[in-house]
């Protein structure tokens, strides 16, 4: 019923694009508004392809992010894992939500994600300006309907009916 396109290539492609977007140089004015692309895309795939993109994907992606950002090894991995776990746990419920409600859920998930990063930074005594951290969360939740629509279109409409 599904081609290899939507089965493996598409999710992998989107995750790689998310990785590229998360280190793309941006003008200094908007750099602190960069949404957490990897987390958002991973939330999407654990909602709609929960069997394929699980914890190991989250774990490895997190390690790659840690290396890219030079953060503590395991920090992003832990945050992504936790978000994936919660999304997986509730995926049947979340994906029948209307779009605005889904955005609110994504907001909550991203807050958790950012909080975990913030917390690890704090425990490891790394310098963290606390105020700048929450703009990406809000932007991410605002972008969710757009990302959801475009990803679902890529995936093919049949996936949206459960």
């Amino acid at each position: 019923m599904e081609s290899s396109w939507s089965e493996a290539l598409l999710p992998l492609g989107t995750l790689i694009i998310a990785l590229l977007l998360s280190i793309l140089p941006l003008p200094e004015v908007i750099v602190s508004f960069r949404p957490d692309w990897v987390a958002i895309v991973l939330i999407y795939w654990s909602l709609f392809k929960p069997g394929r993109f699980g914890f190991l994907t989250a774990f490895w992606l997190g390690l790659v992010l840690d290396t890219l950002y030079g953060s503590l090894l395991g920090q992003h991995a832990l945050a992504l894992l936790t978000v994936t776990y919660i999304t997986r746990h509730f995926h049947l419920r979340i994906r029948v939500f209307p779009i605005w409600q889904m955005s609110v859920t994504v907001l909550a998930l991203l807050v958790l994600y950012e909080f975990l990063l913030f917390w690890v930074d704090g425990v490891a005594a790394r310098t963290v300006p606390a105020i700048d951290r929450w703009a990406p969360v809000a932007i991410g939740a605002l972008l969710w309907p757009l990302i959801f629509a475009s990803m679902s279109r890529l995936l093919g409409t049949k996936e949206r009916e459960i």
């Binding site: 953060s71 991995a77 832990l78 951290r133």
Partner: protein, 293 residues
């Protein structure tokens, strides 16, 4: 679309299984973080991951590199001529000053020989390019395109045409991570060139500002004083310009003065930086310098 085990019994079973897997990987993450935080236990893992992600960085850097290449190749003749002229005059200026420097250096070595102190440490340099990738926006860091394969090591100092830029904090075979002197976790031992007063310049997280927190109200420091690296601590070679004092606020009630300085190097506009190796033997350094030229 159907899922394996949608019946309630095996669904429960699946959830327990999921929870266990999550727990296992989370423990792995915590262990990794712990090991990474305690010194260099994971430097090999880091290096391997660094090699794995190098293509990602190179891919992001590619359009910027191409753009630079294209714009430098498509420049008009007149622009090239103008630039050539400018560079020629700059070179003339520099070589005139270098001539003076050569005599001064010879004199310095002679005087030191008279005083029987060791000759000044000479340095070898290598140019590295900065990759156009963003790191964590909260920290003043960047990636360069040279790694341990070119002899880069952790703790090595970086300079640009104007002064001190930062030091290497992590190196893998093809690239290395640099922390700028303006990073909030970084400080440079400096001395005031006017009177030799020694202190530290601490980063603020803003690439245009350094803080000098350990100067008392009575310290002899003024606006526009040039701070050079003092060479204490052994990371930064001594005598390179670091920053110029911007503002000195003395509050009578407080013990320390509030002093801010602006880095002389263009921390946020650099495309190329120089890596510095200190060589103890000045004879060897001269040979190396000749080799480099």
């Amino acid at each position: 679309m159907s899922f394996p085990g949608e019946s309630s019994d095996s669904l429960e079973h699946g959830k327990v299984y999921l929870g266990l897997r999550f727990l296992g990987l989370a423990i792995v993450c915590l262990t990794l973080m712990f090991a990474d935080h305690q010194k260099d236990h994971l430097s090999l893992v880091r290096q391997a991951l660094g090699v794995v992600i190098y293509p990602v960085r190179a891919l992001v850097d590619l359009p910027f590199k191409t753009w630079n290449w294209a714009s430098s190749n498509l420049e008009t003749r007149s622009a090239m001529l103008a630039e050539n002229q400018r560079l020629n005059s700059a070179l003339l200026n520099a070589s005139v000053r270098l001539q003076q420097l050569a005599t001064l250096e010879a004199e310095n070595i002679r005087l030191r020989a008279i005083l029987d102190s060791s000759a000044r440490v000479r340095e070898r340099v290598l140019i590295a390019e900065i990759l156009s990738v963003d790191l964590n926006p909260y920290r003043q860091r960047f990636i360069i395109n040279r790694g341990t394969n070119s002899g880069v090591y952790v703790g090595q100092a970086l300079l640009d045409a104007d002064g001190v830029v930062g030091q290497i904090v992590r190196a893998d075979p093809f690239s290395a991570e640099v922390v700028l002197i303006s990073d909030a976790d970084h400080s440079v031992p400096v001395s005031v060139i006017r009177n030799g007063l020694r202190t530290f310049a601490v980063g603020t997280g803003d690439s245009k500002r350094l803080r000098l927190p350990y100067l008392t109200n009575s310290a002899d420091i003024q606006v526009d004083d040039l701070l050079v690296s003092s060479g204490l601590g052994g990371v930064f070679p001594s005598g390179y310009p670091v920053a110029r004092v911007l503002q000195v606020v003395r509050r009578p009630g407080q013990f320390f003065a509030e002093v801010f300085a602006e880095p002389v190097s263009e921390l946020d506009h650099d495309r190329e930086v120089m890596l510095v190796w200190a060589t103890e033997d000045s004879q060897e350094a001269t040979n190396l310098a000749a080799e480099v030229q």
